[in-house]
Each structure stands twice: as C-alpha cells, then as structure tokens.
C-alpha cells in the first residue's frame, strides 16, 4: 500500500488562482520522497491538502490508504506535519510545546514525558527545554517545531522546507536525523531548496512547476535523462552579456555539432552536450572567430541542479530565498 497516492489533484483557490492543476504521483511506504519546485509552484498547497488542512477542488488523494477527506481524523493520527513558517507557542517552554502536541495526539503520563525528553535530546534542546521558546534562536525554534511533529511517532512525515533558515551545521544535523527516522521505516515527504541533500537522501522525487509535475523519478534516473555534460559559459560583458551579445553567442553555439540543449541561466549560457570536455576547444575557437569574449567556461557532469533548471528554466538558490523570506516575515510582523 502506497503511503501517498494522488490522482488528478486540482486546487483552485477562492480568488481563482490555480495552484495545483491535476497532478498525479505516488509515494511508497517507507520512501524518502522529495517534492521540489520553484516559488509558487504549489508545493505548500499540495502539502496542506495531503495533511487535511485544505480542501481539494477535485481529484483523489489517499494517505496511508485512507481517503483524506472521508477519513481525515484517522489520517491526522498517522501523520506529522511541519509547515513552512515555524509555528510554536512562544509563551510556552520547549517542553510544554511538545507536551501540548502530545496531549492533542492523546498521549499522556509517563509515556509522554519520556518521549518528550528523548525528542528534546535529539533536537539538541535539552538545556533550553524549560526556557520560554520566545527566547530561542531561529534555528532552535525550527528544531522545536520539527520535534513537535514527531511526538506521536507518525508513520508519514510531511515537511515543508524544514531546514530553510538553519545554519549549515544544524542543517546537516536535521538531515541526518531525518535519514535515521527514514531508516526506522518512517515515510518522509519533503520540500526543500537543498538539492545536494535531496540527491543523497531521496529515493525518488517529483518536480512541480506552475502547478504541474514536470518530472519525476529517482535522482539518478533524472540526471541520466539529461544524458549530457553541462558547460557553463560566462560572457565578458557582465556575467550574462547584453541581449544581443547573448543572442550572437547562441547563434555561434547553434552552429556547433554535439550540443543537445542551450539554456539561459542567471550565470550565463548553459550548454548540454555529450562528452562536453571535447567540445570546449571547439567553443573557444568559434567564439574567438566571432570576436565574443568569454570570461569563463566550465564543464561538469549533470547534477539535480541541471535537472531542475532543465525542467523549470530556473535555478534554486537557497541563500537568496532565505533572505527574501526573512525580510518578508519581518514585514508581516511589523504590520
């Protein structure tokens, strides 16, 4: 029985925004599943639907074999969910936050106490457990939030960017903890901006763009689909070059053999080609003849980054996203 099964899922918000436009996918029991996509792709919307927090417009969705709207109450006992924005009660201590969450999952007494102690240690909040969580740092709050989704030992865990905003060390900690949870049999459904970790940990992933799934499979399948090395060209004039210069460069590239795809990116022009290493001298020579100055050229084997770029035309940049989010949140608070 799959942990999550979604067919033709559609969500149209009240204002007419079509956030999810008929997606289908399946997550197997015990899988570590990555759900990627650029901002506004519909990731959070999908998670809210799967966790019974939002009504779907049409299509079908089953979680742990249960129809999510018909069996919402049963689904809620089996899942844990961490929303994108950190949510804890800042008037309560870390321990109290976890205990409340446990109580609402019908856990009580010694069993709950022990579980909470164990979790506090795991997320490294043992020392701050009895401090008001208002005084926690951003990373501590995020870890507490994660712990609060785990109190009742969910079978399926939904995580909406659980490591965004964490420092690299805490991030690595969280990922390794998630890996451990997955090894105990917990299904993990995660959205994230960190593709390296996805590559390392996710058995399968789906890429969502504008409410539609544009690719799904295992990381290695998706990378090999690209079937080519990646050559990044930066033009002398700034890092992208002016429009006409870029067009000229593309024209020159179009005249060369062996290139499978030419894509614009923020860093310049990305060219996909089989045996890219051999092509580099040809490119340099051709640009020389056309009098286009190159500031750099590099070859690499494809990564999930390339997969993402190929299917969405955009690149994920965790740091920038962090920054824009942080300022967005600040703005909201001040209102």
């Amino acid at each position: 029985m799959p942990a999550v099964q979604v067919e033709n899922l559609v969500k149209t918000y009240g204002d007419g925004t079509q956030a999810v436009k008929g997606i289908s996918f399946k997550v197997d029991d015990g899988e570590f599943f990555g759900f990627l996509g650029p901002n506004g792709a519909g990731k959070s919307t999908t998670i809210k639907i799967l966790t019974t927090l939002l009504r779907k417009t049409s299509g079908s969705a089953n979680v742990a074999g249960l129809e999510i709207e018909h069996d919402a109450q049963k689904v809620r006992k089996l899942i844990g969910v961490q929303m994108q924005d950190t949510v804890i009660d800042e008037d309560l201590t870390g321990r109290e936050n976890l205990e409340l969450q446990g109580h609402l999952q019908q856990m009580h007494g010694e069993e709950l106490k022990e579980r909470v102690n164990e979790l506090l240690k795991v997320v490294d909040l043992g020392d701050a457990a009895d401090k008001r969580s208002a005084y926690y740092s951003g990373g501590m709050k995020k870890r507490l939030d994660l712990a609060s989704t785990l109190v009742h030992r969910p079978k399926i865990l939904f995580l909406d960017e659980p490591t965004t905003g964490l420092d690299p060390q805490s991030r690595a900690q969280v990922w390794s903890y998630l890996k451990g949870l997955n090894q105990t049999g917990m299904t993990i459904f995660i959205t994230t901006q960190y593709l390296e970790e996805v590559d390392r940990l996710c058995r399968r992933l789906a890429i969502l763009d504008h409410g539609e799934i544009v690719a799904q499979g295992s990381p290695s399948e998706l990378k090999s689909e690209i079937g080519a090395d990646r050559i990044t060209l930066a033009l002398e004039n700034g890092n992208t070059g002016t429009g006409s210069l870029k067009d000229k460069a593309k024209q020159v590239l179009g005249g060369l053999g062996g290139i499978t795809e030419i894509v614009d990116s923020d860093e310049g022009i990305v060219v996909y080609a089989k045996n890219g290493g051999f092509l580099v001298p040809d490119i340099v020579r051709a640009f020389d003849t056309a009098e286009i100055k190159l500031s750099s050229i590099g070859v690499s084997s494809p990564t999930l980054d390339d997969v993402f770029l190929k299917h969405t035309g955009r690149r994920i940049r965790p740091e920038e996203i962090d920054k824009s989010r942080a300022s967005g949140m600040f703005g909201r608070r001040r209102r």
């Binding site: 966790t51 019974t52 927090l53 009504r55 109450q73 809620r76 006992k77 899942i79 969910v81 929303m83 924005d85 949510v87 804890i88 009660d89 008037d91 309560l92 109290e96 409340l100 969450q101 109580h103 609402l104 999952q105 019908q106 008001r132 609060s148």
Partner: protein, 253 residues
C-alpha cells in the same frame, strides 16, 4: 472522551499564556479600578439623590460588568493571533476535537473574568461594599459575571474569526463599550435618567445583569431579577455562540 481532555489542555495552554503575560490580566482591570476608586468619589453625591445611599455600593455591580465586557474582547484578539501565527492550523493538523479549540478558549475566558471580578470585589470590600447576601451572594455574583463574560466573548470571537484583525476587534469593542455602559443602569439609577434613555436602558442587556447583581449586593435575593438576567444572558450567549461556531466552521474547513 477526547473533547473533555482536549478542552482541558487547550484551557491549560491559555492559562499558562495568561500567567506569563500578567499585563493581559491587569490591562483591562485598570479602568474598572479607576472607576471604583475615583469615579465613585467624583459622583458620590448621586447617592443623596438616590435616597442617601453609598454610591460606591451602587456602582460596584456596574463596574464589575464593565470589566467583564472589556475583558471579553481579549478573546477575539487572542484567536486572531493564533490564526496569524499558524498555531490554529497546527492544532487542526492533530486529531484534537475541533470543538475543544473553542471550548478551551471560552473556559479560560470565564476563568479570567472570574478572577478579575474577584479582585474588584475584594477591592470594593476594602471600600466598604459588603453584599447583604454574604458568601452565597459572592458566589452568585461571580457566576453571573462569568456567564455574562462568556456571552460577550462570543461576539469578540466571532468578530476575530471573521475579520482576522485584532485592530478591528479592539475598534469595535472601544466603540461599543461606553454607549452600552452609559445607556444602562450600570452607573445610574433609571429614576435619574431622561425619558428616552430610560426606555433604551430597559432593553439594554447590561441593565439586566447589573440589576441582578445590584440586588444581590444591596437588597438580598431577588430571584425574579436573577432569573431574568440569566434568561437574557442565555439568549445573548446563544446568539453570539451561534455566530462564533458559524465563523469558526468557515475558518476551519
């Protein structure tokens, strides 16, 4: 059943938040205390017009209810906070009974008004306000006020759930408080009111509750006014709770 235990833990959460933000407990107490200490002195000569009674004793019932009224409006703003922070969503992702989210909040409202009213009554006692009905009178007064507070919490909850704006809840509360208070028997006997106000105050729900409590303080057991006030408060409670449940359902689904 989980409704009872869920509500208990929701209630406990609000209690902890209240204790950790004592300002919330005392913020709304400030005004009634000013009324109790200063306003009653300023208007003490009204006692003479009312047949030589102590005006502080007369006004206590109104002041206790005024506090219940303004305290009730904190409920709506607290719920707005939970909506904005996402905590409501977090609770909705658990199997906790939906009703317990409202019930826990309402229980904590009743408790808060109960505690605040007790503080006011103790202070009033210090100023010479001794209810003629004694201990049982106190108990009845506190329950009436708590019930009254609950009924008004319903309005603020419904407003908060509907507008999702703390400012709106406060704005409406501020606009309503004084007209409703002044057009009732809270601070003035109806014999001293102009005719039109007399008729308005006769239908003002605050008057019913004030009269019941004032009777317990000044006259004794007047079951007619007591039951009448419970009838009126019940009616308000049914209306406001209906609106709250209606708005809550919209937010939750």
């Amino acid at each position: 059943m989980s409704l009872a235990s869920d509500s208990y833990y929701m209630f406990l959460r609000w209690m902890k938040k209240l204790v950790r933000n004592p300002i919330l407990l005392f913020f709304s107490l400030f005004q009634p205390i000013i009324f109790l200490v200063l306003f009653t002195q300023l208007f003490s000569s009204f006692g003479l017009l009312l047949g030589g009674i102590n005006y502080t004793i007369f006004a206590t019932a109104g002041i206790v209810l005024q506090n219940a009224f303004s305290s009730a409006f904190q409920s709506g703003t607290a719920v707005v906070d939970d909506i904005k922070s996402g905590f409501l969503t977090k609770m909705l992702a658990t199997p906790a009974s939906r009703a317990s989210i409202l019930l826990g909040r309402l229980l904590s409202d009743a408790f808060r008004v109960f505690a605040q009213s007790l503080i006011i009554l103790v202070l009033a006692y210090g100023l010479g306000v001794f209810p003629v009905t004694g201990f049982i009178g106190y108990v009845l007064i506190l329950f009436t006020v708590a019930f009254f507070g609950l009924a008004w919490s319903g309005i603020s909850l419904a407003l908060g759930l509907r507008t999702k704006s703390a400012e709106t809840v406060f704005g409406i509360a501020g606009t309503l408080t004084f007209p409703l208070l002044f057009m009732s028997t809270a601070l003035m006997d109806k014999r001293l009111m102009p005719e039109w106000m007399k008729s308005v105050s006769a239908y003002n729900p605050i008057s019913f509750a004030v009269n019941a409590i004032r009777d317990l303080i000044m006259i004794g057991y007047n079951w007619n006014s007591f039951l009448l006030s419970f009838g009126v408060i019940s009616l308000i409670a049914i209306l406001t709770m209906g609106a709250t449940i209606y708005e809550f359902r919209k937010v939750v689904s």
